[in-house]
Amino acid sequence: MINLFRKGWRPAAVLLLLFIAWEMAVNLAEVPAWLLPPPTEIVLEAISGWEGFSHHLQSTVMLSLLGFAIGTVIGLITAVILHLLPFIRESVYPLLILSQNVPIIVLAPLLVVWFGFGILPKLIVITLVCFFPITVAALDGFRQTPGELRHYMLMAGASKGQLFWKLELPYSLPSLFSGLKISATYSVMGAVISEWLGAKEGIGVYMTLASSSFRTDRVFVAIFAIMLLSLLFFGGILLAERLLIKWKSRESARK
């Protein structure tokens, strides 16, 4: 906790300075609030409008968590299949990269046309943005297992399954967590984008309503909520990493 404070005060101070500059600039230049509201007004709106906002927030949290979970599972399964079956890896891996080049903004409305306004197209969008970093990170981890460890395992008679469970999977965990961190933050973005398409509630819906009625302060409330959520998700993954990869944290603590 003290460590967090020691590392965190610098960016916090920069952020605070930024807000003060913003507040002063808006006041001095007399920018109208619908164009750019000062930070204090945004905070006031967040507090007074909390009742109207909280159920949107809750809905987005649920959606991103669910999407992230599905994305993680699919990402992992894809990585394992591609790793264990080199033939499939060679034929499918380039296509995976292509899947990331399809703009989600374009794809999303299509998904609605195909699957309606339910939760399914939203989950597909989140999964699409989430699974790729996990697959790539896990695959890299699997493949980077040191030759000497692999050689020992094979000489000692490890089967293909044992090689995977006792060497490649544990070895790839740190790399896998790098992928999870990226995906965790993407999942919030993915959820908001999917909500733009048409949903009953969620930060995306709130944002669309706010911007079409020139409630710029509310748009900023939504933006900050998204940033905060991403940060929280990231922190959650960091915590899980600390708990799961104890040997690594002890190693770096010694250095």
């Binding site: 000497e148 094979l154 000489m155 070895y171 990869i245 040997w247 190693e251």
Partner: protein, 244 residues
Amino acid sequence: MIQLSVNHLTKSFDTNQVLDNLSFHVNEGEFVSILGPSGSGKSTIFNLIGGMLLPDEGSITLGNVKINGKRGSISYMPQTPSLMPWRTILQNVLLGQELMGKTDSEAARKMLQKAGLGGYENAYPHELSGGMKQRAAFIRALLSPQPIILLDEPFSALDELTRHDMQKWLLDIWNEHKPTILFVTHNIEEAIYLSDRILVLSSKPAKVIKEYKVPFNRPRMEELYLNENFLACKRSIHHALKNH
């Protein structure tokens, strides 16, 4: 009784012949060293016995079973400790047993205690010194259920003092458990100090140019290094290597 026997092994990679009609055997409870210049195909021999490679000709038998290309028939200690960084020392030394089926953590604890690694059961490999890691790697090999241990230049990466300690330690452990050991090294003194029998290899393609029975009784003490006969042994092996 013959434990491991290697019969007329020949192996080439493309046009590069590494082994030429190589034959030798290791008796049960015997400590045999393979001594040869670097690049003489020592690792190829191990990879063949370990089942990682198939010989072009010849056979390898363990007990009376042919083990050409059968992985997991022998217990192995590589040049680097090759401990899994996410496993504690106890979990690491049990790995060999784990791969073959049953683990016995009580025996492992006892052996760690005797090996001077007591109190480190729950430490991770990076918390140990180089010599301690090699001890753990040897105990892992010793605990594995296979009847013969292959050691691949296990002390070559250690400094001189640690190496001497480790050799003495290895002899102590060997005296107690009498496992069958096939030891690869390029260090003549090490081979004489440790083994019952030394097989001197030629450079590529490798074959046994001299088989040397080490005349010293066990248990051996460190003073042996300075013994006249020890030096005579060393000279004779050195000549065999040079003259070839």
